[in-house]
């Protein structure tokens, strides 16, 4: 099993390595005939780029390829992940999307590892992914490999419930000029310009993208005088670069950098519901996000099955967010501001200051070696060192940055001990400053039942280290006059243990028809222990007696068991028609602690939808016309409301050629069948229409 090379389709997965002009470089003294037979050739199909035979992978996977990306009509990356069985997305505002697997996460997607070209992008502060701020245009994505289930051995820290591995297109595939305009409802505007070229042995591209939209529409609830008007607009400017350089016959260097910045609307313009989210407490303001990364990857290919890779990268995030609430007297609806010092001795009437500034950096170096030991045994081994630093005075209660160092060693073997049997065994050892040492094993046995069908039995254990915010949270509203703490909101006592998941799977997988179609069916059981929840402490000591004695605390307090079955099916009867189906049925046991002091809990089943399904049908009609339809269903899932949702997206496109290039015009409609709330009551997902025009030269 070498899951970094996974892809389930023959087409669209091979890397294009640019070759220098002329003959083999190895020996210019060779005669022509000798060069043909004995000259060195660069390895084109490497172990990391060839698709894994799904009969041999030890885990369930879904590959979202370019065709699916285009057919889905998705306008952002999280939308695409609905195509993976068991995944759900929800919106916490127009500029924050949550991605969960089996419902086990929140608005920060804390339990999923997300990588872009091998670079881990989850935020060290809160463990989540700010999907709106990834410096990556969807048009540059080659495929997304979604591993459904824990994968600590292969992908390290945070690979708890699953892994989303985004792989961008090789620079050699995107030569020339490309431009795209997208416009639609919600004042959605996006423009992309890309220029790719080759300079000697270097293929490279620059992509510049600008996007803005107004977020969700205002919602007026029956009986409420004012509409809910959330400030969730956003504007982003993204610049990214990818370079693929062939340094030698079998030496390759990948270079990448990216920058993303822009304002994000937060807070409320007006609030018309039950006061849980109050414009006085969270007035509208613009947070300013700035993010950049740099990455260098070197690969030496020793043979088609022997490869060394060194990956070095740096991530930087700076979110400038701070605001003043309304004065205390307005928050409490007091008739006279002079009453404030009576209620809160020593405090005059004033706005409260909320500091949400986060600055985080990650430095990471990883070495990986893949090789074949003998005819029956292959091995991947390697190590990683990471340095995370977070400075967030408002969230952590201290000016000094908090540092977390991580060291990881891993090894994984694939042993074909009999013609029809394959044993995958691996382990990862990790040490970090927050929880110390973890050991994550994995064992999977694959048995070939027929030439194109196999079964799999696997066990995996993975750990999730509490992120810096969970371990060191100290977040409060401050008095604007002197910055002193007025009302603590979040507090962690520290000393958290890592969450642990033990996952058992029994599955069947194989190819259908002419092998372009494939299926993956599994029965699973996942046991999660020491889950870090953040209940409300109902007796939290406050500096002022008249403050509500409530604050969120972070504790390893919950245990959850999930079991069920899942199916991922992809049918391609011919090159014109493609059908993708994902289905997941999950039964959950366990509780989520809602409050402590005293304790109250809620069944986890309220948060885990019993059924999740996706259906995508794409057809090419000929003469450049294509159409697609997607259906997404998420069963009852209670956050602030309880509803099951089925949505339908449609897309129609026409490809055309003109002198010097070709283009595509497309129209897509999202949520055509209904309007619905998801995740929170304020965010109404309404039908929306988008049109796009792209030109390539």
């Amino acid at each position: 099993m070498f899951l970094r090379s996974v892809s389930a389709r023959v087409t669209g997965v091979a890397v294009l390595l640019s070759l220098g002009p002329g003959m083999a470089q190895a020996d210019e003294s060779m005669a022509l005939g000798e060069q043909g037979l004995f000259g060195d050739l660069p390895v084109v199909l490497t172990v990391t780029r060839l698709p894994q035979n799904i009969l041999e992978v030890p885990a369930s996977m879904t590959v979202i390829d370019r065709r699916m990306i285009e057919a889905s009509g998705a306008i952002d990356i999280p939308d695409l992940l609905r195509l993976a069985a068991g995944f759900q997305i929800a919106h916490a505002g127009g500029n924050r999307t949550s991605v969960t697997y089996h419902g086990m996460s929140d608005e920060f997607s804390r339990r999923i590892q997300v990588l872009v070209d091998g670079r881990s992008i989850y935020m060290p502060a809160n463990g989540g992914v700010d999907w709106a701020d990834i410096p990556l245009a969807m048009e540059d994505i080659d495929r997304i490999e979604v591993l459904r289930g824990p994968n600590g051995v292969a992908f390290g820290a945070n690979s708890f419930m699953g892994v989303v591995n985004i792989i961008t297109r090789h620079a050699g595939e995107t030569r020339g000029t490309f431009a795209k305009l997208v416009g639609g409802d919600g004042n959605y505007r996006r423009a992309v310009v890309r220029q790719g070229a080759r300079l000697g042995d270097l293929d490279f591209r620059f992509t510049l993208e600008h996007q803005r939209d107004d977020g969700f529409d205002d919602v007026t609830f029956p009986g409420k005088p004012r509409p809910y008007s959330i400030k969730d607009d956003k504007e982003s400017t993204r610049l990214s670069f990818r370079g693929d350089y062939r340094a030698g016959v079998n030496d390759y260097v990948n270079l990448g950098f990216g920058l993303n910045q822009g304002p994000r609307g937060q807070g409320y313009l007006s609030s018309g519901s039950d006061g849980n989210f109050d414009v006085d407490l969270e007035p509208a303001f613009d947070a300013y996000n700035r993010r950049h990364f740099q990455q260098v990857k070197w690969r030496r290919i020793l043979s088609s099955e022997d490869e060394i890779q060194l990956n070095i990268y740096h991530n930087y995030t700076d979110t400038q967010a701070a605001y003043l609430t309304a004065p205390i007297s307005e928050i409490l609806d007091l008739p006279d501001p002079a009453l404030v010092p009576l209620i809160f001795p020593g405090v005059t009437d004033q706005p409260l200051f909320v500091q949400q500034h986060i600055k985080a950096e990650r430095f990471d170096i990883e070495l990986e070696h893949r090789l074949r030991i003998n005819e029956a045994l292959r091995l991947v081994w390697g190590g990683e060192a990471r340095y995370d630093e977070v400075q967030a005075e408002g969230y952590l209660g201290q000016e000094d940055p908090i540092i977390n160092r991580l060291y990881r060693g891993f090894a994984h073997s694939e042993w074909r001990f009999a013609p029809a049997w394959l044993l995958n065994a691996g382990a990862m050892v990790e040490h970090n400053d927050i929880v110390g040492m973890n050991f994550s094993p994995r064992l999977a046995l694959n048995r070939r039942l027929a030439p194109r069908h196999a079964m799999r039995l696997s066990y995996t254990r993975a750990y999730r280290t509490p992120v810096i915010l969970e371990e060191y949270a100290d977040y409060a509203q401050q008095l604007s006059s002197d910055g002193s703490v007025f009302n603590p909101l979040w507090k962690s006592s520290g000393g958290l243990d890592p969450e642990r998941i033990d996952a058992y799977e029994f599955g069947f997988m194989g190819y259908l028809g002419d092998s372009r179609s494939q299926y993956d069916l599994k029965v699973f059981r996942e046991e999660i222990r020491d889950m870090v929840s953040y209940p409300t402490d109902l007796n939290f000591p406050k500096p002022y007696a008249n403050l509500p004695p409530e604050a969120l605390v972070f504790e390893n307090i919950d245990q959850v068991r999930l079991q069920g079955y899942e199916l991922q099916l992809k049918l391609e009867a011919d090159r014109d028609t493609m059908l993708s189906l994902g289905f997941s049925r999950v039964e959950s046991e366990g509780t989520v602690t809602i409050t402590v002091n005293p304790v109250s809990t809620r069944s986890i089943s309220q948060y885990v939808p019993n059924y999740t399904a996706s259906f995508l049908l794409d057809h090419h009609f000929g003469a450049g016309w294509s159409g697609s339809m997607a259906l997404y269903h998420t069963d009852h899932q209670k956050f602030w409301h309880d509803t099951a949702v089925t949505t339908m997206d449609l897309r129609m496109a026409k490809r055309f050629a003109y002198a010097g290039g070709e283009g595509t015009f497309a129209v897509s409609a999202h949520n055509v069948n209904n309007s619905h709330f998801d995740y929170q009551d304020e965010y109404l997902i309404e039908p929306r229409v988008y049109a796009s025009l792209e030109l390539g030269f």
Partner: protein, 316 residues
């Protein structure tokens, strides 16, 4: 033959016999040298030739009686025409040196190693050739034994391997495969070979032609085959490593060992007329198992495939 051997024949036991046998052994290495005088002419700066010599030396080391061999650089061979003509056997390595000595009019019995079959044409009876190419029957046999379900095969050849067309056809007939040959005059015609293979059988066997397939064009061939799900059968270990599915090939070391065997046979037979050209006798099979898995092909081990190819060739 000589006094030593006669003594051995008449002395079956006793210390005197043993002593004479010991003395004979001491002088044994000198005996063939006096009789044979093998000269190997190589291009010293050519790494393939160096590897050839390594295999050659390794093989002759084990010969009894030992062969004494002299190595000459092609740079100095021009001045050594007379001494070369006096050698009992000359071994040239590569087309260039073969041509050079032919033009110099070297009259000694010559074995031209690492030559293409085309070069052989027109050579005289005192010249034998060890081809650098694999025999068509062996290449087609590999397809048959490795992919038994395949019934059709496309063969892409360049101008320099066009001469093999008849042999290829005969081999296909013998292996009961329907073969379609596609001529690739240059790299732009690789696509047409791929299209042809995609239409029938999904197996494309390419013959070596560095003007068509080289480091700059191999990517298009390998990726093109892969994207179409075509099993690409190559001709070298490097091509398999790069992304072809499999190949039957001989390394320079193996060709050197082969040449050493032919030299020994020739010396022992003391033939005035050397045998006709022959293809490599020592070869290996290389398989890209990673690619095989990606194409969902169950491939046997390289050792077994080599055995099956030999059997199919009728050489076992």
């Amino acid at each position: 033959m000589d006094v030593g051997n006669n003594r051995r024949m008449h002395c079956l036991a006793g210390i005197a016999c043993l002593r004479w046998a010991f003395v004979s052994l001491l002088f044994a290495p000198l005996l063939p040298a006096m009789a044979a005088g093998v000269v190997v002419v190589t291009d010293e700066g050519n790494t393939v030739h160096q590897r050839f010599v390594t295999g050659f030396e390794q093989q002759i080391r084990g010969f009894r009686p030992a062969l004494a061999v002299r190595y000459l650089s092609s740079a100095t061979a021009g001045n050594a025409r007379e001494s070369l003509s006096e050698a009992s056997l000359v071994v040239t390595v590569g087309d260039g040196i073969a041509r050079q000595l032919r033009e110099q009019g070297v009259a000694a019995p010559t074995i031209n190693a690492l030559v293409s079959k085309v070069e052989r044409d027109g050579a005289s009876n005192h010249v034998s050739s060890l081809y650098i190419d694999q025999p068509p029957l062996r290449m087609v046999s590999l397809v048959k034994v490795a992919l038994p379900d395949v019934s059709a095969l496309t063969i892409g050849m360049g101008e320099s391997t066009r001469h093999m067309a008849l042999e290829i056809e005969a081999a296909c007939k013998q292996m009961r495969l329907v073969c379609e040959t596609v001529l690739m005059r240059d790299s732009t015609e690789i696509e047409s070979a791929l299209e042809q293979a995609a239409l029938s059988g999904r197996v494309l066997m390419v013959l070596p032609d560095p003007l068509v397939i080289n480091a700059a064009t191999a990517k298009a061939l390998i990726l093109g085959a892969y994207m179409r799900g075509i099993a690409l059968v190559g001709y070298s270990q490097a091509l398999v490593k790069a992304g072809a599915l499999m190949a039957v090939h001989s390394t320079p070391e193996q060709l050197g060992m082969d040449a050493a065997n032919v030299v020994r046979e020739s010396v022992a037979a003391r033939q005035a007329n050397l045998p006709d050209g022959r293809y490599p006798g020592i070869f290996s099979v290389s398989v890209n198992y990673q690619l095989a898995r990606a194409l969902r092909l169950d491939m046997r081990s390289e050792a077994i495939l080599e055995q099956l190819v030999r059997r199919a060739e009728g050489n076992e």
